[in-house]
Amino acid sequence: MNNYAGISAMLEALCSAKGVSGAENTAAQTASEMLGRFMTVGTDALGSVIGRKEGKGPHILLDAHIDQIGLVVTAIDEDGFLKFSKCGGADRRVLSAAEVTVHGKKDVFGVVTSTPPHLAKPEDAAKALPFEEMAIDIGLPKEEAEKIVSLGDRVTFNGNYLQLLGNRISSPSVDDRAGIVSILRCLEILEEKEVDCNLTVMFSAQEETGGSGAQAASFAAQADEAIAVDVSFASAPSVSSEKYAALGKGTMIGIAPALDYKISKTLEAIAERESIPYQLEVMGGKTGTNCDEIQVSGKGVRTALLSVPLRNMHTACEVCDLEDIENTAKLMAEYIAERSAENA
C-alpha cells in the first residue's frame, strides 16, 4: 500500500470513470461531484466542468483536462466488427489485441483485432497496423451490433488501476486525471489552511483533440492568472533521463517562451523555500498543453504550467508516482496562498 491513500482513492475513482474527448460524460460528472465539495460547479457549452469561488486576491484559474484519449466508431462492417478512428493521440503500436469498452447505448466489451500469424507478412511482424486495417470485435452480428452501437460512439481502453511498488500506480487515463487530482488536493490544502482566495477551476473538455475546451472556458473565466496541470514525460529505458524528468522526484515546473516566466520563477522560488521537490521542464516554444490556448484567450492571461511526470503516455498502463501529485498540489497551494495574501 502507498502513503497517499486519499490521492490514490481519488485517482482510482477518476480513472475508472470514462470520458473521451467530446464525450467526457462520466468522467466529467465524477470530477464535478468531487469539485462540488469546494465550490459552486457548472458545465459549459463544450462540456468543461467549471467551479467558481470568489475571495481575496487576483482571480486565479486552475486547469486540468478531463478528457482522455480513445477511439471513435466510424462504421459497422458486414460481420458486425466495428471500424474506428482515433479520438485524440491514440498510439497504434499498443492497439493490437487490446481490450476496450465501446460506449454505445450501453457499455459493451470488445477486443481490437490482431493479425492472425498465417496472414502476417514477415516484414509486417514488427509494424503497427494502420487504423483502417484494425477493427473492434464485440462478438455480435451486424444487426445486433447496430442495436447498441452507433457511429460516433466513443471507445476507451480497458485497464485496471494497479498498485506498483512504493507510491507508484498504473492505469489508463492518468493523463490527465493526475492533473484533476492535483487540483482537488490543492483545494483540500487551501481549505485546511483556511486561505481566502479567488479561484476558477476548470476541468476542461477536448484537450486531446486540440484544446477547444480550455480556449472557450478560459475566455469565459477572464482570470488574471492561470496554472494548468498536465502530465509530462518521465524517463524510462526508452526515454532519456538526461532530457526528461524523473518519476517520483517532484512536480515539473514548465519554462517556455509561451509561459509567463515570472510565475515560473516564483513557483521555483516557493518550491525552494518550502522544500517541495521539483524539476524544471524547459520547452522551446509552445507547450502542447492547454496553456497554449489559455494564455491567448480573451484579453490574455498570465499562464504557468505544472506537470506530473508520467511513463507510457497514451497507453493503457500509464505510470505515475502519487508523491509527485502531492508535491504538485502543495506547490500550487503555496503559490495561491502567497498571491492571495499579497493582494489582500
Partner: protein
C-alpha cells in the same frame, strides 16, 4: 464446462511451470480415473470404460500457456525478459502483466508516441528493447520482489461477451484441458488414455514422452486453432469460423493427418448431428506433430476449438464450439477404440 474453462484460464502455467494447472486437474479427476505423472510433468490418466477397447486411444491436451520469463534486473530496477512460446510483442506492449508466484503488478513500457519520429510511428520496439516496470526505484528494491527465472503472465480476466463468446488468456489450451476433464468425469463406453501434456508451446516436448509412455494406436489431439473469421478476412483464409463447431485438420505445419480418420470424423459428425468444420488453411502445429512419430507411429487426428487472437492476452472462443468439440471427441474416441 464453462466453470472449468473459467477457472483453468485464470491459472498460471507457462511451459515448464504447469504445476498449478496439473494440481487443479488432479483435483477435478480424483476418483474418476487412475493417473500418474511422468518425468517431464505430463499428467497421464487411464479411465476405465464400460468395455475394454480393442485399440488404445490417447486423448491429448496441453496444460502450458505462452508468457514470459525474467532474465535480468537492470541497474535501474527494470526487468528484462524472454518470451516463452511464439508471441508477437504487439499484443503485450503497453499492457500490464503479473510477475512471479506472488503476481507482482508490472507494465510493459513503451516510448510515448509523442517522442517517436514521424517515420517510425508504426515500428514495434525490438524484443531486446522491451522491459517490465514494477515501479522499483533500484535494482535492490526490485530484487526483493522478483527473482531471475520468475514466470510472467498476461493480466487478463475471464469475460463473457457478445453472442456466447468468452475472452480470457490461455484458452490455448485450457479449453482442451476442460474438454478432457469433462470426458474423464463422464461415463465412457470404452477404456481411454489421456495426457495433459507439458511444454507444447516450446516445441511439443511433453507430448513426445507422453506418447512414448502411453504407446497408443490412435490419438486425438484436443486443441485450439486460429480463427481468422475477423473483419476483412475472407474464404479459406479464415481458417475456421467461430460458431461452426470443432475444427478438424487434414494437414498443418507439423502433421499430415490420416485422411481416412479425417473423412470418418465428418461422417460421424453427420450421423450424430454434431457441428464440425474442416480447417481450411495449412498453418500452425501442435502435439500431433510429436505423437504421430512416437514409437512405431500413431494414427492421429486433431480437433480444435476455433480461437481468435491466439497467443495473446485476449484469446476469444465461442462457448458452443467447446461443447460441440466435446461431443465430437467423445464420438471419435468410441469409434477409434474398436475400429
Amino acid at each position: 464446462m464453462l466453470e472449468l474453462i473459467k477457472e483453468l484460464s485464470t491459472l498460471s502455467g507457462i511451459s515448464g511451470r504447469e504445476d498449478a494447472v496439473r494440481d487443479y486437474i488432479i483435483d477435478k479427476i480424483e476418483g474418476y480415473a487412475e493417473y500418474s505423472i511422468d518425468a517431464l510433468g505430463n499428467l497421464l490418466v487411464f479411465k476405465k470404460g464400460k468395455k475394454p477397447a480393442k485399440n488404445k486411444v490417447m486423448l491429448d491436451a496441453h496444460m502450458d500457456e505462452v508468457g514470459m520469463i525474467i532474465t535480468a534486473v537492470t541497474s535501474e530496477g527494470y526487468l528484462k525478459f524472454a518470451k516463452v512460446g511464439g508471441i508477437n510483442s504487439k499484443v503485450f506492449i503497453g499492457r500490464s502483466v503479473k510477475v512471479g508466484e506472488n503476481a507482482i503488478n508490472g507494465v510493459v513500457g513503451i516510448k510515448p508516441v509523442h517522442l517517436v519520429d514521424k517515420d517510425k510511428e508504426d515500428a514495434i520496439p525490438s524484443a531486446d528493447d522491451l522491459y517490465i516496470d514494477i515501479g522499483a526505484e533500484s535494482k535492490e528494491q526490485a530484487e526483493k520482489f522478483v527473482s531471475l527465472g520468475d514466470a510472467v503472465y498476461f493480466d487478463s480476466d475471464f469475460v463473457e461477451f457478445g453472442d456466447g463468446f468468452i475472452k480470457a488468456k490461455a484458452l490455448d489450451d485450457r479449453v482442451g484441458c476442460a474438454i478432457l476433464i469433462e470426458m474423464i468425469r463422464s461415463e465412457l463406453e470404452y477404456d481411454a488414455w489421456f495426457s495433459f501434456s507439458v511444454q507444447e508451446e516450446i516445441g511439443t516436448r511433453g507430448a513426445q514422452t507422453a506418447a512414448f509412455n502411453i504407446a497408443p494406436d490412435y490419438a486425438v489431439v484436443v486443441e485450439t486453432t486460429t480463427a481468422a473469421d475477423i473483419s476483412g478476412v475472407r474464404d479459406e483464409k479464415r481458417v475456421c469460423i467461430c460458431g461452426k463447431g470443432g475444427t478438424v485438420s487434414f494437414m498443418d505445419r507439423s502433421t499430415l493427418y490420416n485422411k481416412a480418420l479425417f473423412d470418418r470424423a465428418f461422417e460421424i459428425a453427420d450421423e450424430k448431428g454434431i457441428l464440425c468444420q474442416p480447417k481450411t488453411y495449412v498453418a500452425g502445429g501442435n502435439d500431433a506433430g510429436a505423437i504421430h512419430k512416437s514409437r512405431g507411429g500413431v494414427k492421429v487426428l486433431t480437433v480444435s476449438v476455433p480461437c481468435r487472437y491466439l497467443h495473446s492476452p485476449v484469446c476469444v472462443i465461442k462457448y458452443s464450439d467447446a461443447e460441440e468439440s466435446l461431443k465430437l471427441i467423445k464420438a471419435l474416441a468410441e469409434e477409434f477404440a474398436v475400429c
